[in-house]
């Protein structure tokens, strides 16, 4: 049996031991996971971003203009030094400005216009009518400039039913997702380790 499989089995059982109660084995596995994850992300970031996007262009290809974003990146680290924290705001301003400029038109197009268009054009079918009623009543529930009384209150209440159905569906999917993770571990324990599953 491979050493990796044995280690994976040990760590899986360490994590499962929490189901009985908190214990040092669980804590060990948990801390190991956090440490390895951070180390892994750091190495990946170094190899796939810093080296090809900054170090190599500047030192191997002589592209010295790359130093400017490099310096802006270093400014971000100055948040740890109160005296120079103002410099980090230059980098943050650039990120927020460029990010918002790129994101706002795309978001409006993809999440508002396209969704509204789809809602309106699907009104010919029963599904489409249900979607429309769901959207209208749910929006009514989140309209707070008028008291939820009378016909408006009834509409808002219908909106809460739609919300409840959504929460129920989402919770059902969440349960399914978590059970899938358990199935994955069980397949590993019973299949790869104990060879009971054929």
């Amino acid at each position: 049996m491979e050493l990796g499989t044995v280690i994976a089995v040990f760590l899986t059982l360490c994590i499962f031991s929490f189901l009985y109660k908190d214990n040092p084995f669980y804590k060990f596995a948990e801390h190991l996971l956090v440490g390895i994850s951070v180390g892994y992300v750091l190495v990946i970031a170094l190899n796939t971003t810093l080296m090809p996007k900054l170090i190599n262009p500047v030192f191997k290809e002589g592209k010295f203009d790359y130093i400017i974003p490099g310096i802006l990146g270093l400014f971000m680290l100055l948040r740890f030094f109160p005296k120079y924290v103002w410099l980090s705001r230059i980098s943050i301003a650039l990120i927020i400005g460029a990010g918002a400029g790129v994101a706002i038109p795309a978001t409006i197009q993809a999440k508002i216009f396209a969704q509204m268009q789809a809602t309106m054009s699907s009104m010919a079918s029963i599904d489409g009518i249900i979607v429309f009623v769901g959207i209208a009543t749910t929006l009514a529930y989140f309209f707070f400039s008028r008291e939820h009384k009378g016909w408006f209150g009834t509409t808002a209440r219908v909106g809460t039913w739609f919300l409840m159905i959504f929460f129920g569906a989402t919770f059902g999917y969440t349960v399914m997702s978590r059970i899938s993770l358990l199935i994955g571990r069980m397949q590993f324990l019973l299949g790869d380790f104990l060879h009971i599953i054929k």
């Binding site: 992300v41 990946i44 999917y173 199935i183």
Partner: protein
Amino acid sequence: MSRQLIFILIALSVAIPLVIRIGLPNEVTSEVMQVYEEIDQLDSGSVVLISFDHEASSLPEVKPMAQAILHHCFTKKLKVVGLALLAEGTVIGDQILRRAANEYHAKYGKDYVFLGFRPQYQAAILGMGEDIVRVFPQDYKNLPLEQIPMMKKIKNYGDISLIISVTDGDMPVWWVDYAVSRYHKKLACATTAVMATSFYPFLSSGQMKGLLGGLKGAAEYEMLIEKPGMGQRGMDAQSVCHLVIILLVIVGNISYFRKNRLQSTVDSPP
């Protein structure tokens, strides 16, 4: 009922069906069929971009979906460009892609390529619309893209027929925002079940061309490609476990109402 007893019941309801196959029926849903049809209608040699936008913790769900899709792609002799927009998806994506390719004797650089990871996914998704080389000057093995035969014909989204985001988060939303809205690319999504409900609006608006939701989605896709795998094997366990959970909820509610009734009888004066 003690917590420990519930855990044991759940563990047994998962373990027993995994060991003893029951073979409960499973039907293919329209959203999974849509993904299958999108891939199936592509001509041999068409390019599919698969983005491994997930972390290691969701592997039991995303791996069967990615495997099933890749098997379909390689059977159809499609060219696959793999990449990761989350760091943890990098090694996993490379591994899944390489194993599937080896099974079909697909050659690296000719039939498939793995570009690796790029941070700042908005910039990466947008940048690839203009020029993939600008975002990924080298592949995961640090090979310049100009030296990879397959990548000589793939400059940007214009040369890609379908994008598939294998994800455990909201990355498909960014693909919709930038690749679909701006570059009008076709996008399908293979996501963990917990995220599936978030993407149904995009599916009904046509911004997504199909959706695989968790282990069930993988099982359905395995049925379509007639290649049983981890998804179908896990569905019996999933169904039995759901039945046990439903029973526990019913028992819990009955006991709650009984307890309340008894309490009110005790509290009310004779």
